[in-house]
């Protein structure tokens, strides 16, 4: 059974239909990429899934439970973590403190107004594990604001991971990285996602990244799904080629 189900998800802004009747499923262990030209509705789709925006129509189900109507914080509490296209960190805290605060959010005693040694201990352990998996252990004590852009992007992922989510929404994880940094990030992500315990939705512009990471691809064009399938199927789809003018047939080679 699919972990995440979107059914007829629609969002209008005035007269503009940003997301139009999108239906898709993501199962545990699956990495699904959502691609499409600028303005295709990818970020709006994320915002609909994690509750930043209410849908105009349709619904989102997570593990059988309806998410529509919940706040982003509540969605997060159920095991859906998200990274942002624009890096958002706590610049004056250390890398470890960033990840630890992320992990603390899933602790039942996260709000404890006194003591809290045990809470910090648990959060710290999860944070260190996540930093380790993303290869950030060596910068754990540095202020996050002083990291390189590439490491900051990875820290975004580490923070989401430290929350031990069941569904991970990755919004352009390689945004603004150099070719070399992108290569490394893709390697790291590939190892990470190979575990199979996570469901992942990936929004990404870089088609090479998409084809190396994704098992399934959903193609959005003007808010609507124009193709849905394995990378090979999508590459061969004439409608997609028309929409992209053959852009990613080249990129995939």
């Amino acid at each position: 059974m699919a972990l995440l189900e979107c059914e007829g998800l629609t969002r209008r802004f005035g007269g503009l239909v940003a997301v139009s009747s999108v239906t898709m499923q993501v199962a545990t262990g699956e990495v699904r990429a959502v691609i499409g030209p600028n303005g295709a509705g990818k970020s709006t789709l994320f915002n609909l899934i994690n509750g930043v925006l209410p849908p105009s129509a349709g619904l989102v189900r997570f593990d059988g439970e309806q998410l529509t109507g919940l706040t982003p914080a509540q969605v997060c509490q159920r095991g859906v973590s998200r990274t942002f296209q624009l890096t958002a960190l706590f610049p004056e805290m250390t890398v470890r403190e960033n990840a630890s605060l992320a992990a603390q959010a899933r602790d039942a005693q996260r709000w404890l107004p006194f003591g809290g040694g045990a809470v910090f201990h648990r959060a710290r352990a999860k944070a260190d594990a996540a930093l380790e998996r993303l290869g950030l252990s060596h910068v754990a004590d540095r202020p996050a604001g002083l990291l390189s852009h590439g490491d900051q992007r990875l820290l975004e992922v580490a923070m989401a991971l430290a929350q031990e989510p069941r569904l991970l929404l990755l919004d352009e994880p390689t945004q603004g990285l150099s070719v070399e940094e992108t290569q490394q990030a893709v390697e790291t992500l590939k190892t990470l996602l190979a575990g199979g315990e996570l469901a992942v939705v990936l929004v990404e512009h870089d088609m090479e990244v998409v084809f190396r990471l994704a098992h399934k691809i959903t193609v959005l064009h003007r808010g609507a799904v124009i193709a849905d399938g394995t990378p090979e199927e999508v590459k061969a789809d004439p409608g997609v080629q028309a929409a992209y003018l053959g852009d990613f047939a080249d990129a995939a080679d």
Binding site: P72, A73, S81, F90, A105, P113
Partner: protein
């Protein structure tokens, strides 16, 4: 451990102060401790959560009027009246915070100011309770509970204030070091991210505003029986501005700094005004000097200097 030793030393010195200081200095010191408590309460919002309140006088004035009214019109003992007033301020703050936290940044500051000024206006209107523009006068330090009279003397009251300040400091200190405090730091540095991580940031903000107001109200509740009166100046925006400056001069986000800032403010004002009529000029210059040359505030700068050699040694 060094921190604990320092704290015990300072409290010991303060506890011995009545032996060595002349009465008028004890009066000043008592007032400085009350203002210190007031400034420290604001630091929870300003320094730890970056909720810049332009209306913190609302907490102080409300607490002062509450305890003043209770001491004049009921049989409550001094500690009970002070305690009830502090709780009432905290409860008031939940309403205030519920409205104010709908906004952020300058809008938040302006909303807090609007609330404080509304209270200020109400004290003028509601003459039967507040005494109008005269305020409440002749507020007693009533003995009790159980016939206890130790707190009603000047020295006894000083120890009462000192004890409450130390207790409030310890409370705040463990709060900012708790998981709750970690979330506040998150809100301070990046509220949108904290929200996205799954924290209900508004609930945290309302809680911290309530605690901040309760402690600010406690300070005001102590001021009324200390001075023997409560008037609308305790709610005026000028006091809100002054307490914010005490926090910044002392060092925001350090708890100790604002207490020092309040004491510095009080004694500087006292000293300057005994030398010169135009003390405000020097005071104004002092603020500008601080902003330009001591941007982290008194304790912020001291703490940075204390920390640096340790970091080098590592």
């Amino acid at each position: 451990m060094g921190a604990w030793r320092g704290l015990i030393l300072v409290v010991a010195v303060l506890a011995l102060a009545p032996l060595g200081l002349p009465p008028y200095m004890m009066t000043l010191l008592t007032e400085a401790l009350i203002l210190g408590l007031f400034a420290m309460s604001l630091d929870l919002m300003v320094g730890y959560t970056r909720l810049v309140s332009f209306g913190h006088a609302a907490a102080y004035g409300f607490g002062a009027y509450c305890s003043g009214w209770l001491l004049i019109n009921t049989d409550l003992s001094l500690p009970s009246a002070v305690f009830v007033a502090a709780i009432a301020s905290g409860v008031l703050a939940i309403g205030v915070a519920w409205v104010c936290t709908r906004s952020t940044g300058v809008s938040f500051s302006m909303l807090t100011l609007a609330f404080a000024q509304l209270l200020y206006a109400i004290t003028f209107r509601w003459t039967s309770v507040t005494g109008g523009s005269d305020g409440l006068a002749g507020i007693p330090r009533r003995p009790g509970p159980f016939g206890l009279t130790a707190l009603t003397s000047k020295t006894g009251f000083y120890f009462f204030v000192l004890g409450l300040l130390v207790a409030a400091f310890l409370l705040c200190r463990q709060l900012v070091n708790s998981p709750f405090g970690a979330v506040l730091r998150g809100i301070r540095e990046n509220e949108a991210k904290t929200l996205a991580l799954g924290y209900n940031t508004r609930a945290y903000k309302i809680a911290v505003v309530a605690l901040s107001y309760a402690l600010g109200g406690l300070a005001g509740a102590l001021y009324a029986p200390f001075a023997g009166f409560a008037n609308s100046e305790l709610l005026f925006w000028l006091l809100s501005g002054q307490v914010l400056i005490m926090v910044i001069v002392g060092g925001a986000g350090t708890l100790i700094g604002p207490i020092l800032g309040a004491a510095f403010f009080m004694f500087a004002q006292h000293q300057l005004s005994s030398y010169t009529e135009s003390w405000a000029i020097y005071f104004g210059m002092l603020f500008i000097f601080f902003v330009l040359f001591v941007p982290r505030g008194i304790w912020g700068s001291v703490a940075a200097r204390l920390r640096r050699p340790a970091a080098d040694g590592r």
